[in-house]
Symmetry: C2
Subunit: 446 residues, 2 copies
């Protein structure tokens, strides 16, 4: 029980049921974990009134005992011995919000093997070791929930794996990294360069001092792996997700995109093809009338397509201590409820073996901006280079008539390998000074 | 099992587990029910591969045995004896998609009392008899799920009652009726009159031949009752929801709204005030930059606000056989999974007694359009009428200078009762020809 006040407050509730008190063990108490503990301690009566469940934070594993925390817990609750949290017999349910693959993975396995439900916010770990952890949860007959691993406070894991369990989902598109969406929004609305927009994002705390995980697309790739696996029922690990970041996006291309009716977004794209599934992350030109085009700043959004549901949009805060802690808390309540029901819980989703389409075989349309010498015949040569590898051109624009003119080519869909070969051929042409940029263009689902 | 093909297909699955076959009893096989049966029969292997569960539709209760159906089931599956569906010992789980309060309510109670999980899409029944049905499910220890009752294919019930169970939700705004949103979109984009837009919606099948339930706001009111009850944990019945429809919305007011930066939407508004909760449905002017302002056509959307999650948007198809059947199917899978786990299932949400704020005491800003004689002093008289009842004016526009001028007043927030008294006073002024229209203006959450 979370403090002295429950003794009297209990009386107001229908049943001050000790069997409905759940001992929580926390692994990590940083931004998300600290917020969660503060809420479990401070709002325990409100949570009990709404859910009938009492949560008591009994052990908190941290790296540094002396760091200031946004909560007060009894002496001895904090420990640096993380396995002691998992093994504490008074801990009924383990919340892992420490991040990273290890030791988080082994701690979760130990908790599951001890028959304790686990709630995790760790996208990197789930995307890397998901099948192993899910199988361990199934063997133990306890829930392993990870709503907070994708989209922060946006409920997306549960809708995908429960409400839409009977849907043949064809495609999931996501803006699942707030840092990069913030930077691209600033570049788009203020015309800022990438370095300036990144610096502004770091100033405001939207980007880390080392922004690599976000700007490289690696964070989004882990989330794409999870979304894709749940949407299609074929497990895709993080290493199966092709990713490109936003480091080379030029404000000039954003401006051209706007002119042609597109917004540039870092998209996670999960697709079900007839011959397999694919998940990838890269900057993409999104038609301005698409709901994802208007997702601004650090907001995240996930867009789900299927034959029956047509399309669904979920949007909200994709990160931050409070939204993410809300998602974790929802899982904690759900896991506790299932466990108290005394069930040997069946897994929410089964994964079947399936083909993963290699990225070189995935078909997309490309926007290619070339710096060219403005000589007669350059367009014909560029066009024939595309034609030589079987990539057909949808439209061409020429900008500027000086020594350095820009030629902008938008192709029809063709497989990645062919598009790359075309661009290599073009880069080798005498008339082409530079392939200044390449951005894929979002089309309809296959 | 859904047909002969399972004998061989089973072998491909991890365990052709007869204990994982669930006998389904259907109450209703119309648009939603017919689609659902067709999918349960036609996609049973795909569902089994993804969930590990086999569904076998064993009894289907209908009004008319001879009506053509989009599915084929064995002779004798269809019956007009609805209670025989519920009581059939081979039926493990009951799906109620017949609509209406009775006999649906008594059928559901009978199913729950027999220990059978129930999935319902019946907003009207849940909004009218929710607490009684939920209590019966709790006593029986089986799930009663109703994801499809609000927002068709949009997952909203489960996110509200599970993922957000730990959030102190402050406000829920919803466009939860596709018919009226379609009509308002046509009026707004084409300048059509209400009767013309309604006729077009009827032509396209977006509106019923008798459109009353939709256009009066009654359908949205039932959904507002459910959303509000789940969001705040205080039960609000359908009779506690004030509602106004769109019948008197004038394209002129939509045009004025656009000029001032607003869109006119039929909104369900659920609010948590310090002294209680409120749910209501009425046309409202929504600031054009609000995500709900850009929800077009028959699309539905729900916008949830809370201190931790800030705001979440869910949007998608709010009606139609396929999307709604997907939501029902998600519930069927979830209920089957819980039941097979052998659990005495704890309810997902508890309702506590709480105050319901009467609508006369709810505070909103008003847009009032008056037809006035263009005499000197009319503005002063109108302003002092508002002032007399304590309603303060935010802005005034005067349009036209002929005998019939329009005076448009937008007030600050004031309680409904005072706003109404002000408008009554104004209607009685000699200079006022007519109070042509009144539309509430959406403000920030209290």
């Amino acid at each position: 029980m979370a403090g002295h006040s429950l003794e009297c407050d209990d009386l107001q509730l229908s049943s001050p049921d000790m069997e409905r008190t759940i001992g929580i063990g926390m692994l990590g108490a940083g931004t998300v974990g600290g917020t969660l503990v503060a809420r479990l301690v401070g709002e325990s009566e409100a949570i009990a009134a709404k859910t009938g469940l009492f949560f008591d934070v009994r052990r908190i594993g941290v790296r540094d005992l002396d760091r200031p925390r946004p909560f007060t817990v009894p002496e001895g609750t904090l420990t640096t011995d993380l396995f002691s949290v998992v093994n504490d017999p008074s801990v009924d349910l383990v919340v892992e919000v420490m991040g990273g693959r290890e030791p988080a993975g082994d701690l979760i396995l130990a908790a599951l093997q001890a028959g304790k439900p686990v709630v995790s916010a760790n996208k990197e770990l789930i995307a890397a070791r998901g099948p192993e952890l899910i199988a361990a949860a199934e063997r133990a007959g306890v829930p392993l929930l990870f709503e907070a691993s994708v989209g922060g406070g946006i409920p997306i894991i549960r809708p995908l794996s429960e409400t839409l369990a009977g849907e043949r989902i064809t495609r999931v598109l996501g803006i699942v990294n707030g840092t990069t969406n913030y930077i691209l929004t600033q570049m788009s609305e203020l015309g800022e360069s990438y370095p300036d927009a990144l610096a502004a994002a770091q100033e405001l705390g939207y980007a880390e001092p080392d922004p690599t995980a976000d700007v490289s697309g690696a964070d989004a790739a882990a989330k794409a792996a999870i979304l894709s696996s749940l949407a299609f029922g074929t497990w895709i690990g993080i290493d199966d997700v092709y990713h490109e970041g936003i480091e080379s996006v030029d404000p000039l291309d954003i401006a051209f995109a706007q002119e042609f009716g597109y917004a540039v977004k870092l998209l996670a794209i999960c697709e079900q093809f007839p011959h397999g599934v694919s998940a990838r992350v890269h900057p993409a030109m999104v038609p301005i009338e698409h709901p994802l085009a208007s997702i601004r700043g650090a907001t995240n959004a996930v867009f789900i397509e299927g034959p029956s549901i047509e399309s669904l949009l979920f949007a909200g805060p994709g990160a931050g201590g409070h939204p993410t802690a809300t998602a974790v808390l929802g899982d904690v309540i759900d896991a506790a409820r299932e466990t108290l029901a005394g069930a040997q819980v069946a897994p929410r989703i089964r994964f079947s073996p399936g083909e993963i389409v290699p990225y070189e075989k995935v078909s997309t349309a490309w926007y290619v901006r070339l710096l060219v010498d403005d000589r007669p015949g350059v367009l014909a040569k560029v066009a024939s280079a595309f034609g030589d590898v079987g990539v057909s051109i949808r439209s061409v624009w020429q900008e500027g008539v000086d020594a350095e003119a820009s030629l902008i080519v938008v192709t029809h869909r063709a497989v990645e390998g062919d598009q790359r070969r075309a661009v290599e051929l073009i880069a080798g042409l005498d008339e082409v000074v530079e392939v200044a940029s390449v951005i894929r263009v979002l089309g309809d689902a296959s």
